[in-house]
Amino acid sequence: MDSRLTRRAFVIHVGAAAALLGRGVPSAAQTSPAPVPGKDKLIVRSPRPINLETPLKDLGADITPTDLFFVRNNYDGPEIDAGQYVLKVDGEVDNPLTLRLDDLKRMEQITQTITLECAGNGRSFYSPKAAGLQWENGAVGTGVWKGVRLSDVLRLARPRPGASHVVPDGNDAPPTPQAPDFIRSHPIWKAMEPHTMIALEMNGRPLPHLHGGPARLIVPGWIGSASLKWLVRLTLADKEWDGPFMQRSYRSPRVEDPTQSYSLQSLECKSLIMSPLDGAKMAAGAQMVQGYAWAGEGSVTGVDVSLDGGKTWVPAALSGAAHRYAWRRWEMPWTAAGGAHTIMARATDSLGRVQPGAKTRDPQGYRWNVIHAVRVDVA
């Protein structure tokens, strides 16, 4: 199966290149790439691999509809027929497993509302520019995920005492034999945490291919790359994965010693203003400032809003449901007076983290969470 799918992926990739170059590389710049079918409203950051960002104006709901949900692929994966799907569990286990989709569906199912955010969300706001996809605010979304606990699957395989890490692999493949496979490992404690899951459904439907279907990991509270798509193999290991997506990418300098780096796990404490939008022209009188806040392994404990560019701050009301690993809606009524205003929102979490007003350079542009500000004109 591997060889066939990989060859197919290769033909798709290189075929596209041949098709484009076969008619010459045209010179007309400034034309946006065509929208991806089923994701027409999303901003195409890259058509290959597919990387799509949700416009901020479309993010203001508790649950992000699937057709608006961002897509971040390091490599594109070929579609997997649900009937052919197989998940292997091997490595440091006493009972290696081969599970089909029906086997996973017969296990106890859980349904969780969880926010996913790409580690590089907001990278475009760093100055100087960091290399990587230049996401603005919309590489984040909240889905309702149904599937099995990863811990239930791992227990079936009976991990050996030395199994300290889980190495998941997906059915995507790099476009050349020299490029590294996309693999990042997780410590066993996070893999066994009861919220960590293998998702088979998203927002009430079978998990779509673009979101990792038929089965993907959801590692809640952690940077999006932890939630591996097209999961086909789980290898228990006695050490962290040593490939470049673990040892070079998804790392930031240590605060106490910037010559050393650490592998990113939890998302930062962060909030976005989703209404009004930057540049909005508003009527004077009763208005609502509204947005969402999230905090990775922490829980949002408050959001303060400033209507005067950061001079004074007023607590917003947290509203809506509070899920362990999902963003939380916040809102604040505002009697808008005429003139120009800068509105800012600053989240605080249960780990004592507060959104900063500025951020030192992160070499790879990860986890931007500087206080979000919008400028509006009230007539």
Binding site: T6, L20, G24, P33
Partner: protein
């Protein structure tokens, strides 16, 4: 997922070489004939090259697009030293470069997509 298997068979290697040849060779001759302008009108909108126009636009485009879209490059702003790291990584991933290509690619990227 392991990806090496397809490259091991002689057939696959021949196929890859053929497609690469078409991509890099025939593509150039076609574009030279047409002066590098857009191809068939029905496809021109999708095929717009987001990279800045210059003498080496097509040389750079042809190397990079084998693996990923040109949009991934066009949105970057990097210093020469930073581009150097990226270009060397791409060469290590299999980007085909002839004598002098590395320097030309680096000069193009630094000139048009520098910071």
């Amino acid at each position: 997922m392991p990806s090496g298997s397809m490259w091991r068979s002689p057939f696959s290697r021949a196929l890859a070489a053929l497609i690469l040849g078409i991509t890099l060779g025939w593509g150039w001759s076609w574009s030279e004939r047409t002066g590098g302008s857009a191809g068939p009108p029905s496809l021109s909108a999708q095929a717009a090259n987001p990279l800045p126009q210059d003498r080496d636009q097509q040389m750079v485009s042809g190397r990079c697009i084998i693996c990923h879209s040109l949009e991934m490059i066009a949105q970057q702003r990097q210093t020469r030293a930073e581009w150097s790291v990226i270009v060397d990584r791409m060469i290590s991933y299999g980007m085909p470069v002839g004598p002098g290509d590395r320097e030309r690619i680096l000069a193009y990227l630094t000139k048009h997509l520098g910071q």
